[in-house]
């Protein structure tokens, strides 16, 4: 941690990452990209967790450990999501999210 950088700077970076993720999730059509956007969102949250922990309660570690859990969960989620995407590809020969709409009414 570099001395003198205010907390807000880091939070701005994380907010930027978060909204980049949201935009990617909504705008992109490729499922892999959507998955990557989700990872961005999760990592933005991780940054927040670590930053708040470090600046507000420097003598405690809960926030950092929580960030570690999120990383673990994200890994599991990514593997499941990729398995799903592979199956969808085998079935539809496409990973375009617009073509995966069989679950509509």
């Amino acid at each position: 941690m570099i001395e003198g950088i205010p907390m807000t700077h880091v939070l701005i970076v994380s907010a930027f990452m978060f909204f980049a993720g949201i935009c990617g999730f909504i705008i992109r059509r490729n499922m892999i990209t959507i998955l990557m956007s989700i990872e961005l969102i999760l990592n933005a949250v991780n940054i927040n967790l670590v930053v708040f922990n470090k600046y507000l309660y420097p003598d405690q570690l809960q926030g950092q450990f929580f960030a570690l859990f999120v990383v673990g969960i994200a890994a599991a989620e990514a593997s499941v999501a990729i398995a799903l995407i592979i199956n969808i590809y085998r079935r539809l020969n496409s990973i375009n999210v617009e073509q995966v709409n069989e679950m509509k009414y």
Binding site: F25, I26, I27, R28, R29, E98, N101, M103, Y105
Partner: protein, 638 residues
């Protein structure tokens, strides 16, 4: 004294029923016939053995016949106090009924081997017969009123099945439904009566209810409803059930129609056993009626007397031979019910009770004989109607003789069985109520008249030309006739006053000649009139029926009771109760439910476009919603 073998009396018929019902189709028809008949044969022997052991080996304890619980087990245990048991109770009337039911049922089983031969559904017939025998035997040995009710309904359903045996005939189906609905309606009263009685006495057991200890009735004795005590109501309602099964006025309408069933069934169910269940019920509960509800007993006497007169008059005008016998059954059961109604309890006072049971016993034999004889005639002539018959004595000698014996018996000719039992009934009626005595005296004459009208029309009368020469029934049918004829001659010599009395103590009874001689005379007058009118083909009956005009027509149409029922049910109940109820059901109840369904469906249709299946859209909604919630929590909730 060990009576545990009596359980077999119930188990064998139910086993035969299950065998014939489940496996009967796999074998030749004769197998199921033999299984049923042999099973009933064993039951028959066991019942007579039970009777012998009960009356002559076990005998009296302290001068009266005991009530023995041969077997009892808990069936339904609701609470510590409320337990429904199933068991076997032996006392004089249940033992007597065992003998009657098993004997008649056995004869009918043998007879049906010939009568139903080659019929479609032979094994079905035998399985139903076994089911009926089981239910009736279970009814008579019931230890408590609830067990009796269960078997009572079983009897009702087997009667329904047997009446509707020819289920392809619409009239048989209608008759079976009518019988079931009418008796079921009456049984509703029975059930309410049971509940009332057991609510106030806290017991179902016959032993407790009819015992010497009357303290159980104290809690309800003071309560009254609409001017009658609770126990009068309970007894009247219980009698309503009995009246339904015994086809007493006004529930009699099902019995004549029930003749649509096969004739052996009519002999078994609608003459000798099931229809006396009502008499048996009143006899079983007699101490309750006598001590707690003497008013109900009075009602019973009048119902019995009225029905016997009413049915006897109708019987004179009917042409279907089985219907004549059906009305005669109504009339005779009226006698039994009346005798119970006029009976006292102790010693010679209880002569009515004894006479009723006595008449039940003798009636079972001669009425079963009459029906089986009628069956043999129908078998030979292929018709139920009197006009198609005549001069049959030449062709069917055995049926002729046995039928004559039965007719003489029912007319009360001296030294045949019904002479003794009818005499006792008339004695009981004479000492209690002169009006009822006069009615019964008149009915005795009418009975003789219509029975001999039947006899002469069938066996004498005109010489009808038959398509096929009628032939005597096969041996398997005539042997039961002969056995029953012997029964109806000699059943009257059983010393009933020594065996079956209201209080279980024997008394001395003797023939009261002051009553017996006039009753024999009126019987002879009836026979003479019938001989005059029907022995040769004459125009007298025709002229009488024309002279009576409207009255004859009313009687011929059974006093239009069926039409009144139809009017009440179809015109009044249907129009003024069922229709509004149906309207309410269709429009209000169904409307509410349909409205809820319609609202859900329509709103779902409107919003189902939201389920686009398009993932980015879901994400958008999710994100915007999250923003909205954040705004709400940030600015509105503090």
């Amino acid at each position: 004294m060990n009576y545990s073998y009596t359980i077999l009396i119930l188990l064998i018929p139910i086993a035969a029923f299950l065998f014939n019902g489940l496996l009967g189709m796999k074998f030749k028809p004769i197998v199921s016939g033999l299984v049923g008949t042999i099973g009933l044969g064993i039951v028959f022997l066991l019942s007579w053995y039970t009777a012998w052991q009960y009356f002559f080996v076990g005998g009296m304890v302290d001068g009266e016949f005991p009530k023995i619980i041969a077997m009892s087990m808990d069936w339904l245990q609701f609470t510590d106090k409320l337990t429904i048991r199933m068991g076997i109770m032996l006392d004089p009337i249940s033992v007597m009924m065992l003998v009657v039911v098993s004997s008649v049922s056995f004869m009918v089983h043998i007879y049906s081997l010939g009568y139903m031969k080659g019929e479609k559904g032979f094994e079905r017939f035998y399985s139903f017969l076994s089911l009926f025998s089981f239910s009736m035997l279970g009814l008579v040995v019931a230890t408590n009123i609830f067990q009796m009710y269960v078997f009572w309904e079983l009897v009702g359903i087997s009667s329904f099945l047997l009446i509707g045996f020819y289920y392809q005939k619409p009239s048989a189906v209608a008759a079976s439904k009518k019988a079931f609905i009418v008796t079921r309606f009456a049984d509703l009263g029975f059930l309410i009566g049971i509940l009332l009685l057991s609510f106030f006495t806290q017991t179902f057991d016959f032993t407790t209810l009819t015992g010497a200890d009357h303290s159980i009735f104290e809690s309800g004795a003071a309560k009254s409803f609409m001017g009658m005590s609770v126990f009068t109501w309970a007894c009247l309602l219980i009698f309503m059930g009995g009246a339904g099964k015994s086809a007493m006025f006004p529930f009699h309408i099902w019995l004549p129609d029930a003749m649509e069933g096969p004739t052996p069934v009519s002999a078994l169910i609608h003459a000798a056993t099931m229809v006396v269940a009502g008499v048996f019920l009143v006899a079983r509960m007699f101490p309750v009626f006598f001590f707690q509800a003497p008013d109900a007993l009075e009602v019973i006497a009048y119902v019995g007397g009225f029905t016997s007169l009413f049915a006897a008059i109708i019987a004179c005008t009917q042409y279907d031979i089985k219907r004549v016998l059906a009305f005669s059954t109504l009339s005779q059961i009226g006698y039994m019910i009346l005798a119970l109604g006029v009976s006292g309890y102790e010693g010679h006072e209880g002569v009515g009770y004894m006479a009723s049971m006595f008449h039940l016993f003798t009636h079972a034999f001669f009425k079963a004989l009459l029906f089986l004889g009628a069956g043999a005639i129908i078998h030979a002539v292929h018709s139920n109607v009197m006009q198609d018959m005549g001069g049959l004595r030449k062709y069917m000698p055995i049926t002729h003789i046995t039928f004559l014996i039965a007719c003489l018996t029912i007319s009360g000719v001296p030294f045949l069985s019904a002479f003794f039992s009818k005499d006792e009934i008339l004695v009981a009626a004479f000492h209690h109520n002169k009006l009822l005595f006069a009615v019964e005296y008149l009915v005795a004459g009418i009975t003789a008249f219509y029975m001999f009208r039947l006899y002469f029309s069938i066996f004498w009368g005109k010489d009808t030309q038959y398509h096929h020469t009628p032939h005597e029934a096969p041996k398997v049918m005539t042997i039961p006739l002969m056995i029953l004829a012997i029964g109806s001659i000699f059943a009257g010599y059983v010393p009933f006053a020594k065996l079956i009395t209201a209080d279980g103590r024997p008394f001395e009874s003797h023939i009261d000649f002051a009553i017996a001689i006039p009753s024999v005379l009126i019987g002879l007058v009836g026979i003479g009139l019938a001989m005059l009118m029907y022995r040769k083909e004459t125009h007298i009956p025709e002229r009488i029926s024309i002279a009576l005009g409207g009255f004859y027509k009313t009687v011929y149409n059974k006093f239009y009771i069926d039409e009144i029922y139809l009017f009440i049910t179809k015109k009044i109940i249907f129009n003024y109760i069922s229709r509004p109820v149906a309207w309410f059901d269709r429009h209000i109840v169904d409307g509410t439910m349909n409205g809820i369904g319609w609202i859900t469906l329509t709103s779902a249709k409107k919003i189902k476009g939201l389920q686009s299946g398009y993932l980015p859209q879901y994400g958008m909604v999710f994100a915007l919603a999250a923003v909205v919630f954040v705004l709400i929590f940030a600015f509105l909730v503090r």
